[in-house]
């Protein structure tokens, strides 16, 4: 029974990692940039979701509002931060992104206080029992929305003109341009979707612990970075599988080697071991 419970917990966390990591891998696939500031957008999503929900007492409004605003912020970050430095060596964008993330964390701390905010009336806290395992509605909601969102994303990329334009741009921007695809629009869309997803993930995570605090972006996003490497940079399906895998490895790892290594280190230990065996990640090659 314990094993099943661990598995379910692992998959739940994994599905949340997936929603965060997909945004990251989308950016990498398109621009070859490690968008560390994504972590800041995740936290921003949590904050906005909480604030909107608290003022309007409507969680759906909070989630949507947060997703749209954060999506917009993501596009702004692309325009102001990344676009001007695309022709520089890759470490420039990486370090700029890190600087941006740290600045964002600090702004959250200074504006909203270091101890974080809570929901005045936390939604989705009811307990549900599934196959003998106790779960909270928020956790189930998380998994369902992850499936929905990623399913929609997959449909979008396979069956709509926008999706095809996006995949073409990722594959070969020059040829895509010569076919008349507006690569700039594709980039904006890319950042909007990735950031909106991060925001939704942020809201769900905040529901689970009824807390948003300035540093909440850090750890999930560091893990997300490890995930996209594992999944094959730019490979959405690979990222999805790697996320679930990591969630499960973490759940079991914490129990079995938790005395040796703390929880967050397990993710990286896993990453390093895998990279040593397969340096290109688990699912390289799109």
């Amino acid at each position: 029974m314990l094993h099943l419970e661990l598995l379910i917990q692992g998959l739940i966390h994994g599905s949340m990692y997936a929603v965060i990591a997909v945004g990251l891998t989308l950016v990498y696939g398109l621009l070859r940039i490690l968008h560390v500031a994504h972590a800041g957008l995740f936290a921003l999503g949590g904050y906005l979701g909480l604030l909107i929900t608290n003022t309007t007492t409507s969680l759906p409004l909070g989630m949507m509002g947060s997703a749209i605003i954060v999506g917009g912020c993501g596009m702004l970050i692309y325009r102001l931060c990344y676009q001007p430095i695309l022709d520089r060596p890759p470490y420039v964008a990486l370090i700029a992104s890190i600087g941006l993330f740290i600045a964002m964390e600090e702004i959250f701390r200074l504006v909203f206080g270091p101890y974080g905010l809570t929901y005045s009336n936390p939604p989705l806290q009811s307990q549900v029992t599934l196959m003998g395992i106790h779960l909270r509605a928020a956790e189930i909601g998380m998994v369902i929305s992850a499936l929905l969102l990623l399913g929609m994303l997959s449909y979008l990329s396979q069956h709509t003109r926008i999706g095809i334009a996006w995949r073409a741009t990722v594959d070969d921007p020059d040829i895509a341009k010569s076919f008349g695809i507006d690569t700039i629009k594709v980039r904006y869309l890319n950042f909007f979707i990735g950031s909106a997803l991060a925001a939704i993930a942020g809201v769900f995570i905040s529901l689970l612990s009824n807390l948003v605090e300035p540093t909440m972006g850090g750890v999930p996003s560091y893990k997300a970075l490890a995930i996209i490497v594992l999944g094959g940079l730019g490979n959405v399906t690979g990222t999805l599988i790697a996320s679930l895998l990591l969630g499960v490895v973490e759940a079991f790892g914490t129990i079995y080697i938790g005395s040796f290594l703390d929880r967050d280190a397990i993710a990286f230990a896993f990453l390093i071991v895998i990279l040593m065996i397969r340096p290109q990640g688990l699912f390289a090659g799109k």
Binding site: M104, A226, A265
Partner: protein, 290 residues
């Protein structure tokens, strides 16, 4: 010079050694390391643990240097198989791994760290002198490496690995050398920190520290020895001179990192170079440049 200024100067010296180490890895050889603090920590913890069992101070620092260098070799071996973006995340992972292990092991002090570290017995000023001497040696070492044939090889590897390989530059060996030397320097800095602070906490060697050191290298101009030294001094002293910003210290760091990368990716060194070039251009014709 009061006790406070002496302590500050000591910290500057330690940071210079640390930053020059990272400069060797990331600057000279183009390998982006986001986990430099781990090697700092390995040096510090090694020195601390050995010192508590009675080993003479300077031996423990040497041990710290060696253990950090060996760890660097191991991580360097990882860098042989992966590149740029992967490496950045892998080194970040190494950083978290180090923290994760140290936090969980009571032997290594656990969450509370190591305390009761013996003093070096030199007094504050004596210790400061030693630190500054080692910092100067590190700078000299960095410059020497940079201007030697090894430095040329490092440049080649940083610029274009595949071409370098084609020119029979043993890319792997140079990457390893850069990593080992840079991390050994971090180990020395760690050992020196141990006897300065005489109290180690895991958080002193976390991701934020890695980023702080990286910002010193980036703001100085990745690869430039003088630039990095200047940036380290400025960034270490800045919060002290502007007391009112101590609460905003991290915000300033982050914004600075972002702004430098966005507007002047070559850092102080590049900026100075540009300035000097423009000054020289303004010299009347007939005068030789330089």
């Amino acid at each position: 010079m009061g006790i406070y200024e002496i302590s500050l100067a000591t910290v500057v010296g330690i940071n210079v050694i640390l930053a020059l180490g990272l400069n060797m890895i990331s600057g000279f050889c183009g390998q982006i390391s986001l986990g430099h603090a781990a090697f700092y920590g390995i040096g510090a913890y090694t020195a601390a643990l050995l010192a508590k069992t009675g080993v003479p101070i300077w031996l423990t620092i040497a041990a710290g240097m060696i253990s950090a260098g060996v760890a660097g070799l191991v991580v360097g071996l990882a860098s042989l198989r992966v590149r740029h973006d992967f490496l950045a995340i892998t080194t970040m992972g190494v950083g978290f791994l180090f923290l994760g292990i140290v936090r969980q092991q009571e032997l290594l002090g656990g969450e509370l760290g190591i305390s009761g570290i013996p003093s070096a017995g030199l007094g504050k000023i004596g210790y400061l002198v030693v630190v500054l001497v080692i910092a100067l040696l590190s700078a000299a070492f960095s410059l020497w490496i940079k201007r030697s044939w090894m430095g040329f090889a490092f440049d080649a590897v940083a610029d274009d690995e595949d071409t370098a390989r084609g020119l029979t530059v043993d890319v792997g060996a140079y990457k390893l050398a850069a990593f080992a030397m840079g991390t050994a320097m971090a180990g020395v800095a760690g050992g020196l920190y141990t006897f300065f602070a005489r109290f180690l906490m895991p958080d002193d060697f976390g991701f934020i520290t890695s980023i702080t050191v990286l910002s010193m290298v980036a703001v100085g101009g990745i690869g430039s020895v003088f630039g990095v030294i200047a940036a380290t001094i400025i960034l270490t002293l800045m919060p002290e001179f502007f007391r009112f910003i101590s609460d905003y210290k991290l915000l300033v760091y982050g914004t600075l990192l972002f702004a430098v990368m966005r507007f002047a990716p070559e850092g102080l060194a590049g900026f100075t170079r540009g300035l000097l070039a423009r000054i020289r251009e303004k010299q009347p014709a007939g005068e030789t440049t330089e």
